[in-house]
């Protein structure tokens, strides 16, 4: 890549006001660096990934409303987590976290267990139970 070809497309970096560093060659073939505001092919990839996450959140939300899963799964998706990551934050086995997705099991969870999840999601136990945000 030539220095003058380092892309300067609009991207999500703008919101944080930073430009990333790229390596490129100058007109004498010497390696140098150049800042880039973004490159469209990867902005599209990132936006698609984010859209995918939003779909997962919406889907979890509907399933909570329909009584198919507990709010824990909704908050897990909201925080871009999967079962493995959530399990390591709350300190439970994965199968246990998955069990807590069952609305019938969720209803009977102790205050202490709920508190653990609430802390990870940075919400109150009330908010965890009601899925309000």
């Amino acid at each position: 890549m030539k220095k003058k070809e380092v892309p300067q497309d609009k991207s999500n970096l703008e919101s944080a006001n930073f430009r990333e560093l790229c390596y490129a060659v100058d007109e004498n073939g010497e390696y140098t660096t150049e800042n880039s505001t973004g490159w469209e092919p990867k902005t599209v990839a990132l936006n698609n990934a984010i859209e995918e996450i939003h779909e997962r959140i919406e889907d979890a939300k509907h399933r909570v409303i329909k009584g198919e899963t507990s709010p824990i799964e909704y908050y897990m998706e909201l925080h871009k987590m999967d079962v493995g990551i959530l399990a390591s934050y709350v300190g439970f086995w994965q199968w246990k976290v998955k069990r807590h997705f069952k609305p019938s099991v969720f209803k009977k969870l102790s205050e202490k267990t709920l508190q653990k999840y609430a802390e990870v999601f940075e919400i109150s136990v009330e908010e965890l139970k009601s899925m309000h945000r």
Binding site: M1, V6, N12, L13, S15, A16, F18, R19, E20, L21, C22, Y23, A24, V25, G29, E30, Y31, T33, N35, S36, W39, E40, P41, K42, V44, A45, L46, N47, N48, A49, I50, E52, I53, R56, H79, K80, M81, D82, G84, I85, S88, Y89
Partner: protein
Amino acid sequence: MKHETKIDFTHHQSAHCENGVVSNLMKHNGYNVSEPMVFGIGSGLLFCYIPLLKVNHAPVITYRALPGHIFKKFANRTGVKMKREKFSNPKDAKARLDENLEKNNPVGLQVGVYNLVYFPDEYRFHFNAHNMVVYGKKENRYLISDPVMEDVTSLSEKELEKVRFAKGAFAPKGHMYYPISFPEKLELEKAIIKGIKDTCRSMLAPVPFVGAKGIHKIAGLIRKWPKQKGIKTANHYLGQVVRMQEEIGTGGGGFRYIYAAFLQEAGKLLENEKLIALSKEMTEIGDLWRDFALEASRIYKNRSAQTDSYNKVADQLDHIADLEKVFFKKLKKSI
């Protein structure tokens, strides 16, 4: 106890965090070692498909060595001694950090990205192998030199504790590191040769998931995805391949440009014309990786792709794999 410590530390932006922290800490101690040099000596370049593992519900490909490896190899090969500490208790972790800052010693930290408040929201995933330098404390805020950022920044005590004790894969556990001793004279020549040999070995490894073979493997998977997984998932997977290749930290082209910069610098230092010529070749390979990303983005942008277009990008990858195979064989012979 002083309430304000600010170590005289110069922040240099880098493409990748791990090289950047090493390069910046070396510069702070009076050794001018560039980011590409750290990357090359530490054998950072790689291609590896990690079967079975999924991140963000998509397959994982890495274009670089495992977190921490660049660092470890660089230190071993140059004879720099590093002190590394992990903690089970955040309080101890904070105390050791403060102690070092009091002693005017800037330290490297491994952190998680998800709670890194100065990153754009869109980039905050559960990725735990980010690196930064802490170079002081002012009004209870830690002064941070994050190598991928253009400028220095700061984090509150609580914010820093959160990222140091992020959970999940590669959990940092407060991981802190800094150089404690240096060789009398820093001799890069031998370290460069070791670094290059190691990279050639892994890129030419007779393992189906690694190096040139790994690239062929991914090309094969891409051909199968649309039929096997459906267009939506195939595009999601393809998008992740491009993101891993081009995301912040790679310097573009899946680290191939940083590696080309290393070969050029190494060629001058060792007075080896072959390395300089190979640097040019690596740049051209990097351009082909960029072409692949561009072509792939056309697929997932339109969302209505035909199997043909998947085959087309897979062909591009097969071509790159062939070129890299020849390239690393030549590189091996050039030193």
